[in-house]
Subunit: 352 residues, 2 copies
């Protein structure tokens, strides 16, 4: 039996590259499109460094196209060349903070980009789609743990979250209007960690916004101090609680979704799945674990709350377990160990 | 004092053409961009018929560009050529029914198109924007009359309505992130009627979806029968109640918004205004009025309710009156008379 061709957009990014690795390990044919706006690529080389390392780790090859999904012709050329079974759409801008600085760019990249991709898929009658969504679609949680039935879009705290919500709404309408579409939306909680080899990991451009990359960069001396935004929340120790998930668990979650989606028998499907561990960890707990596991010190100071931050967020994991036969295996200790393994081996990320 | 250059997208459409007429009467310089996807244009002629007639009626000239807002270069060329004071953005697909058939086209045209336009405006530092929104953003009314504070986006019954809601959300974020943007969103209720001359009016492509064009086409013999979708609603006579507004009132509403927006002193503005009469009229009331005013018969039959239709919808008009100094002047009798005047003079619309 011929292996399925899987197209992954944004495949050179943090989440994309780990998904590509697992897809290759499982013998899928992987086609990556990435504009490299957020991933390091040597000028003289044909692939981003992350994907070169993925090929080394897996001893497999992938097809890479440096191109933007804003350009329909780029997409059409790929769909002409390969008979794609499913598209995993990871390409998006992802910084909450930046989305307030340049909302138009966020809407343009994340929504117009998705619409281009879906329109070209439609032209080629390719209608299996996995969407990189986010827990931000839930906004301020109305109850915990957050189930997939939790309302979405009502209190999204930032333009980034709204782009994810809006694409989900578009996908729902698409699945209602055309019964050939089968769409799974994966709502990531807080992906952290790195491949256990330490060869690939998170390499944010500029100053990171997310907690784990900041912790890692403080540990490696790239940043001096960690800011904790508020310690007066109604949580175990006053600091914000989040549902961190190991990037390898997240990657396997994509595989579980892909396997189920390729076998999906229902017509006109839109399903959303939480990808998280179901457990909350506070900022201080994460710092303490990181310090203990890795035997490093993380100096921090408490500063004011950030607008839009919520006290606690963690998800119900039952639906993914039941329907995708997937659950997270790694704990916070693994996440801290692997994040540090990556960062200490690659203090400058993918740059040499 | 030099007159302001006003760019109006979709200026050849029903709403656009009436706005253009009033803008010209008030001596604005009007630049129209329209792709003519929904307006009749003789092949040998440089302008859509609606705009040729507008020029005749006003004895003024306008600048017309047959181009799509999806193409940024088209837009850039216009902004290079003219120093635009304000953009009135009427270009959009508008059929509720069709938006269920081809939601991707609706999202692509209405959202990506708006994002293109806003992005190019941003490049040229043009940041006064009037958006053609719709009462559909309110979804199923939670209270009547509907004020501008009514929640939006929670129960939009169709993709068309969601495109309007999403663009409003984008505009809100834009006005928050960049204080130079001043944006008014005009939430139209049910625009009907035509210019009193009968020279311009509504000319839907294909079978119309909205009530008044169907009534007119039945009266003129183009359609045989009017379907009334449900007569068991909790309303005055069981048929659906809507807030119809004369197209000339709507056009003057745009002028009122434009005058206020050009004088807007606040920074980072997003304001939404209802444009309606504040009175509800049932389907049967509209038919009866049309028959009496125009001395014609409108045969109809009662059929099943349509999914997504609401019993009654009409708006609170105080905000536009207070802040824009605008209110509707025409009543249902005028709307029926002018709709029929247009239709009977132009049984095939703009086609000769």
């Amino acid at each position: 039996m011929q292996a399925d061709n899987i197209l992954i957009t944004g495949g050179a990014g943090f989440i994309g590259s780990h998904c590509v690795l697992v897809l290759l390990e499982l013998n899928y044919n992987v086609i990556v499109i990435d504009n490299c706006s957020n991933s390091f690529c040597e000028k003289s080389v044909s692939k981003p460094e992350a994907l070169i390392r993925v090929e080394k780790l897996t001893k497999k090859t992938l097809q890479f196209f440096q191109a933007d999904i804003q350009n329909c012709e780029n997409l059409r050329n790929i769909f002409k060349e390969f008979k794609i079974s499913c598209v995993i759409h990871c390409a998006a801008f992802k910084s909450v903070k930046e989305s307030w600085d340049v909302p138009l760019s966020y809407y343009f990249n994340n929504i117009s980009g998705s619409l281009n991709l879906l329109t070209v898929m439609n032209e080629f009658n390719i209608k299996k789609f996995i969407f990189s969504s986010s827990s931000t679609v839930y906004g301020e949680p109305q109850f915990l743990p957050i189930t997939e039935e939790h309302p979405t879009g009502q209190n999204c705290a930032n333009p980034y979250g709204r782009t994810k919500f809006m694409v989900e709404e578009i996908l729902k309408d698409l699945s209602v209007s055309d019964k050939e579409w089968c769409i799974y939306s994966l709502r990531y909680f807080n992906p952290v960690g790195a491949h256990p080899s330490g060869e690939i990991g998170e390499d944010p451009v500029g100053i990171p916004n997310n907690l784990m990359p900041v912790i890692s960069q403080v540990a490696v001396g790239k940043l001096k101090l960690l800011n904790i935004y508020g310690n007066d929340y109604d949580t175990v120790d006053g600091t914000g609680v989040r549902d961190y998930i190991h990037i390898m668990d997240l990657a396997y979650g994509h595989i579980a979704a892909l396997v189920a989606l390729l076998q999906e028998n229902n017509l006109g499907v839109f399903k959303a799945y939480n990808l998280g561990t179901g457990s909350g960890t506070s900022v201080l707990q994460l710092i303490n674990t990181f310090e203990n596991v890795n035997n490093v010190k993380i100096p921090y100071k408490i500063v004011e709350r950030r607008t839009g931050d919520t006290a606690a967020s963690y998800c119900a994991v039952q639906l993914a377990k039941k329907e995708l036969n997937w659950e997270a295996k790694y704990g916070i200790t693994d996440m801290c160990r692997d994040a540090w393994n990556w960062q200490s081996k690659n203090p400058k990320g993918y740059q040499k």
